[in-house]
């Protein structure tokens, strides 16, 4: 090409130039047509996008630029009955990234800087972001490190504007002032589970919310939470807020005033701790028998709910779940036990009311009774008393806690004495609130078990034997009740038959102090026992403390009525002895009852372990503080 063309390339002289041929005019028409045609194609597409689908694109642009941000409401605080704070809100800082807001192509720079501030390897951040991108929407913040200290949080806050996609997440967390002391009453909070989220998303919960998981925190979640506000903001491509489009202020959660008296609670915990011995766990509660207000509710061992306010270390969780005392469980409400002889109060009331026995009905305890064996007519079954108590009327039987007396009342020897029989006894047990939750304002309450022949047939597949009636009469074998159920039942005996609904909330007040809910005294039902008959039971209980087996519950200056229980459970040890639960239920003053108390110890004796603990509690109420006076005067 070079040689042939060079000549011409070098001859710029317009020697060969002529007027352009006129034939070219058609080409220009074609070119004009091409311009029009190409532009029409563009216009056609523009009309399709801007006119036909303009609305849809405008929505997409709005989705891009508008984000709804939840403004959390301050969670309500909780006070004891005297207004002493039990929980505060504390800020907690976390470092997060919004993967969708990271600068494309410059993520590494952000990872490095962020890693330097929070002390995390950039590689780890990258891995977590990559993993999160495949999992969730890129605009969901991914929390990288929780529980930043204040200085780190400040440093991050400072650098936030220069690090697109990086967020300092400020979460409010709960600080439980009394730590373990109020753990089972207050409960704790935790991150929402996916099941909870499914159930609560309609109420405005997000996947990152925390909510009450136990205790009052859980049962009054809706009151405490308040109503989160919403802010519609315009964000730029880096996710930074540019402008607030609209805003609805949050409504802070209500503050709760509980019925619990912090000083009493402390005293109850101390008394229980002193007397629980080698019990894995123990529980005690005090209730105002006129109102159902729970003045103290203690379950041991306990835990510090503050550990749930930050990420739980595996060893901390293991320490809680592996502990044989099951510290997370509220043993006063969430676990049931054989109530033992405390149940005799109900047997006595039932027998009186049904006309089966009178106060002066007398039996002699030889230390046991023999009942026919219904399976093998040649054998007999022996039901024992704890001692040869001799001749007993009903008062003395209650005071001395004679098993034999109550075997007869329950109908274990129908040939000698027409007793109640298991069905009638079960009906009374249920009337006193056993077998159903008390309805206290705490989650995870259990119902317990009231056995009867139908129940046994259904669950065990065997008929009811007289031997079962023996055990039923003294509150062992199948019968199960929570300490709180026994407290409410004894409360009904004390207050003349009103089965109260126990409650922990006294009042809920909104942020400006107006009461939004005031707890009302609620009588679930009247127990079907006449006042006279209840008076008999009360007298028996007074005698028990004055001269019977519950003498350790006596308190100076106040007449206490009480009933102990020592219920065998589990498998016999090497010496063939069974462990026993130690129980005490009682109330004071016996003549004008104010408070009822229940003490339960997993291992112990009712008379030697539970009763003295109850005495300390009652002594504090009537002698050690002005609580009794305040209650009488209707003051908190």
């Amino acid at each position: 090409m070079a040689t042939t063309t060079r000549r011409r390339w070098r001859s710029p002289k317009p020697r060969r130039q002529q007027r352009a041929p006129a034939a070219g005019q058609g080409a220009f028409r074609l070119l004009r047509l091409l311009v029009v045609l190409l532009f029409l194609v563009l216009l056609g597409q523009l009309v399709r996008m801007q006119v036909v689908e303009g609305e849809r694109y405008r929505e997409l642009a709005a989705i891009n630029a508008l984000r709804e941000v939840q403004v959390p409401a301050a969670r309500g605080l909780i006070y004891d009955r005297q207004g002493r704070p039990l929980v505060y809100n504390e800020p907690r800082y976390a470092a997060a990234v919004v993967p969708g807001d990271l600068p494309a192509g410059q993520e590494e720079t952000v990872y490095e800087e962020l890693g330097r501030i929070i002390g995390m390897a950039p590689g780890e951040i990258r891995a977590r972001v990559t993993e999160a991108r495949g999992r969730a929407s890129p605009y969901v913040p991914l929390v990288l490190k929780e529980d930043l200290d204040r200085n780190t949080a400040l440093a991050l806050k400072e650098r936030e504007p220069d690090l697109p996609g990086v967020r300092l997440v400020v979460q409010s967390t709960r600080r439980y002032v009394e730590g373990p002391l109020m753990a089972h009453v207050l409960g704790y909070m935790g991150p929402i589970s996916s099941e909870e989220y499914q159930a609560l998303r309609d109420q405005g919960y997000t996947m990152h919310d925390w909510l009450g998981k136990a205790g009052v925190e859980a049962s009054y979640e809706s009151l405490l939470r308040g109503e989160p506000g919403r802010r519609l903001v315009e964000v730029d491509a880096s996710g930074r807020e540019r402008r607030v489009v609209s805003e609805r202020a949050p409504v802070d959660g209500a503050n709760l005033v509980l019925t619990v008296d912090l000083d009493l609670q402390r005293k109850v915990a101390e008394a229980l701790q002193q007397h629980m011995g080698r019990s894995e766990n123990a529980a005690a509660a005090v209730m105002d028998v006129r109102t159902g207000e729970v003045l103290a509710l203690v379950s041991l061992p306990t835990f510090d709910p503050n550990i749930f306010s930050r990420p739980l270390r595996p060893e901390e969780l293991a320490a809680l779940t592996d502990n044989p005392g099951k510290p997370l469980l509220n043993h006063a409400t969430a676990e049931n036990f054989a109530p033992g002889s405390t149940f005799k109060t109900i047997v006595a009331a039932a027998a009186l009311q049904e006309g089966v026995a009178r106060p002066d009905t007398t039996f002699v305890s030889q230390g046991y009774i023999v009942i026919p064996n219904e399976i093998d007519p040649n054998a007999v079954y022996v039901c024992e008393d704890w001692s040869r108590l001799g001749r007993l009327d009903m008062y003395r039987a209650l005071a001395m806690s004679s098993n034999v007396y109550f075997y007869y009342l329950a109908g274990a020897r129908p040939d000698e004495f027409r007793g109640l029989g298991p069905d009638r006894l079960a009906n009374y047990a249920r009337a006193f609130g056993l077998g159903e939750p008390t309805g206290i304002d705490l989650p995870a309450e259990v119902a317990g078990t009231v056995p009867d022949p139908r129940w046994k047939e259904r669950t065990i597949g065997e008929p009811w034997y007289l031997g079962n009636t023996c055990w039923f009469a003294i509150g062992e074998e199948y019968l199960r009740a929570t300490p709180l159920q026994m407290l409410v039942a004894v409360g009904a005996i004390a207050n003349g038959g009103q089965l109260l609904q126990p409650h922990l909330l006294r009042e809920a007040r909104d942020a400006s102090g107006h009461a939004v809910r005031t707890a009302q005294r609620e009588v679930k039902r009247m127990v079907p026992v006449s006042p006279q008959n209840l008076e008999v039971v009360r007298q028996g209980m007074v005698m028990s403390v004055e001269s019977g087996v519950a003498q350790a519950a006596a308190v100076r200056g106040v007449k206490v009525a009480g009933k102990t229980g020592t219920a065998e459970f589990g498998e016999p040890d090497a010496q063939g002895r069974l462990s026993t639960h130690g129980w005490f239920v009682g109330f004071a003053p016996a003549d004008d009852p104010l408070v009822a108390v229940v003490v339960f110890m997993r291992r112990g004796s009712g008379g030697q372990d539970a009763a003295p603990a109850a005495a300390k509690i009652l002594d504090y109420i009537f002698n050690g503080s002005d609580l009794a006076q305040r209650l009488r005067a209707g003051r908190p």
Binding site: T5, G24, R32, V41, L42, Q45, A61, N64, D236
Partner: protein, 371 residues
Amino acid sequence: MRAPHLPRHFDPWLLTAALALAAYGGLLIYSASLSSYPEGIRGLDHPVAKQAIYACVGLLLLAGAAYMDYRLLGAVAPSLYGLGLVLLVAVLLVGDASYGARRWLTIGGVQIQPSELAKLFTIIALARFLTDRQGEMHKLSNFLLSILIAGLPAVLVMVEPDMGTAIVFGAIWLALVTMGGARAGHVLSLLAFMVLAIPLIAVAALGDYQRERLALFFNPNLDPLGGGFNIRQAEIGVGSGGVLGRGLFQGTQTQLDFLQTASTDYIFSVLGEELGLLGAVVLLGLYTLLLFRGIRAASLAYDLFGRLLVTGIVVMVLVQVFINVAVNVRLLPVTGIPLPLISQGGSSLISTLVGVGLIESVLLRHKAIDF
């Protein structure tokens, strides 16, 4: 080449259209850079100020090009063409890369885009070649030589990679050889050959970069936060503008930075979003005026060289406008090509204005004898 007859044939409409487009562009660049320069033009580092300086330089060169006899270009065509090739090779060796492509060359502190110059130089070279071979273009050897002239720079820009500009070279060649008398059979068989070769090219010649861009065109949701992000955001921007637009400086896509490279390759999205269909009609109207006046100039040209020169410039502008807007409205895969006279960038603005100057130069001399 005497001065007195010059003003009579000067086309004011051509210049007006070009100036109006440049001003329109300035307005859009201002809007697109508002989020980075919220306080407006405070100094010469503002994109609009820079663009205005380039426009002034461009206008001076336009005047010079119009004053100069375009026929002189024929004489220096081989040198200009050679210079263009040298620059295109240089950019591959020592160019500045951005967005995955190596397109800029820094000379004496000024960044230039050699492909913009090479386009003009190649038009001149092709016009000269076709004029020299007038009446001989039916020969296959001449036809193949013309392919070589356009193909060399096209291949060099494709390597950058800059597929869009390579296509512009192709379109210029096609228009000029058709007008220059090439055989329809030759042209058609070449086109057929290229169509058949597309799948092969896609596999063998296209880099990962281009294949990825093509894949994203067909499904931008593949990677909504990576390469597909911009396609998607541009589409949303244009679509959300509606008929009247969301108002100048009011487009959320533009002002909240959802749109990247808003002042260059995606400036049409700014217009579509903020000024709507109406703004787009005005824009295309101005281009139509510019191009029609250009075609008029080509049809009036005194000689074949002038006609081919003007046609080449007209086609260059037309194809760039079409490709750029088509990318913005998702009719074509992403390819970085500026919107002539509108997009921010000195090389494109100046070379387009020089092109306009050359058209005027051809017009001014379209009568052999002027009375």
